[in-house]
Symmetry: C2
DNA sequence: GTCACTGCAAAAGGTTTGCAACGGA
DNA sequence: TCCGTTGCAAACCTTTTGCAGTGAC
C-alpha cells in the first residue's frame, strides 16, 4: 500500500483514506451521501478498532443529526466487503479499522488497541509444508499479530 | 500435541479428547457432572465448528434430558478458556472445535468445515522484521489457514 | 426521473445474569 | 456437608429486515 505514512489514527492516513473511500463511492454506481461522509469522519477518528454499535452510539451523542442504526450497519458491511475496513479480532471482541483493499495483515496493540497494517506474511513455506502433509489445497489465511506498541511498553 | 492421530472428527481423536477433558475436570476443583459429560459427547461428534447456540439447540432435539442454555454457554466458555476448545473464525461466523491446550493453529476447509490442527507456524522471521520496523514488542498471534480438504477438492 | 440510500421501528438472534435448587466429591 | 454447578426465565445487547420516504446523480 503506497499511502502517506502518518500515525495519527489507526494505521492509515486519515485524509488519504477518506478521499480514497469517497472516490470509491463516486465510481461504481454508489452514492456519496451525507450520512456516509459523517461516518467516514467518525471512523477515522478512532484510536482503536470500533464496533458497529459503538460507532452508532458515539455518533448519536456527538453529531447533531446522526445516521440511523441500519445505515451504520449497512455501510460498515459494505466497506468491509470492499476492503476499506478490516475486521480485527481481539480478546475483547471484534472490531473494524480503516484499511485498504488488498492483501494486508494487522499488528494490534493489546493495551491501547492501536493497529498497524503490514504486507508480506512469509507463509509460503508453511503453506507448502501443510499442503503436502494434509492433502488440503490451501487458498488463504487469517493472520494477526499481537503485541505492545512503543508507548505502551513504557507504561 | 502427542495424541493418537485419527481423522474421525474435527482434528482430534474423540475418545482421547473426551478422556483428557474429563481428567481436567476431575482435577483442579471442578466437577464432572452429567450435563457436562453429555456435552463432551455431543461436541466431539461435530464434523465442523459449532456455535454455542447450535450445540444447545442440537442437544435439545437429540437428548432426552439436555443441558440448559446457561450451562452450555458457561461450559463452552470454560473449555475455551482452558484451551480444550479452539475458536475458529470462518466467513460464515465463529465456531468452536475440540482442541488441546498449547500453541496450535488450524487449517479449515472452506467447503465442509473440517478442521486440522497443526504446530509450527514459522513466523519468527516475520516477527523479528516487524518488531524492528514498528517498535512493537510482539507477544502472540492469530493464524488460521483456509483451503479445501482432499474430499472437497474432488467435488 | 431513477434508483440507491435512509430511517424508523419491529423482529430476530445470540448471550448474559440472578437466584433458588441440586448433586458431585 | 460444602460449594461448584444447574436450569429457568428474564434481561440485555447486537444485528437484521420491511417498507415508505428521501435525495444524489
Amino acid at each position: 500500500m503506497s499511502q502517506p505514512s502518518d500515525a495519527a489514527t489507526v494505521g492509515v492516513n486519515p485524509e488519504f483514506w477518506v478521499k480514497a473511500v469517497r472516490s470509491y463511492w463516486q465510481g461504481g454506481g454508489y452514492r456519496l451521501t451525507e450520512p456516509r461522509q459523517r461516518m467516514l469522519d467518525s471512523m477515522v477518528a478512532y484510536a482503536a478498532p470500533f464496533s458497529a454499535e459503538q460507532l452508532y452510539a458515539d455518533m448519536q451523542t456527538v453529531e447533531v443529526v446522526a445516521p440511523g442504526r441500519a445505515t451504520v450497519y449497512r455501510t460498515i458491511e459494505q466497506l468491509n466487503g470492499a476492503g476499506w475496513l478490516a475486521r480485527i479480532h481481539t480478546q475483547s471482541g471484534e472490531g473494524y479499522v480503516p484499511s485498504f483493499p488488498g492483501h494486508l495483515h494487522h499488528l494490534v496493540c493489546t493495551r491501547c488497541g492501536k493497529v498497524v497494517a503490514f504486507e508480506g506474511c512469509a507463509l509460503e513455506g508453511l503453506v507448502e509444508r501443510l499442503a503436502s502433509q494434509t492433502d488440503f489445497m490451501i487458498e488463504g489465511h487469517l493472520l494477526q499479530l499481537y503485541g505492545r506498541c512503543g508507548e505502551c511498553q513504557r507504561v
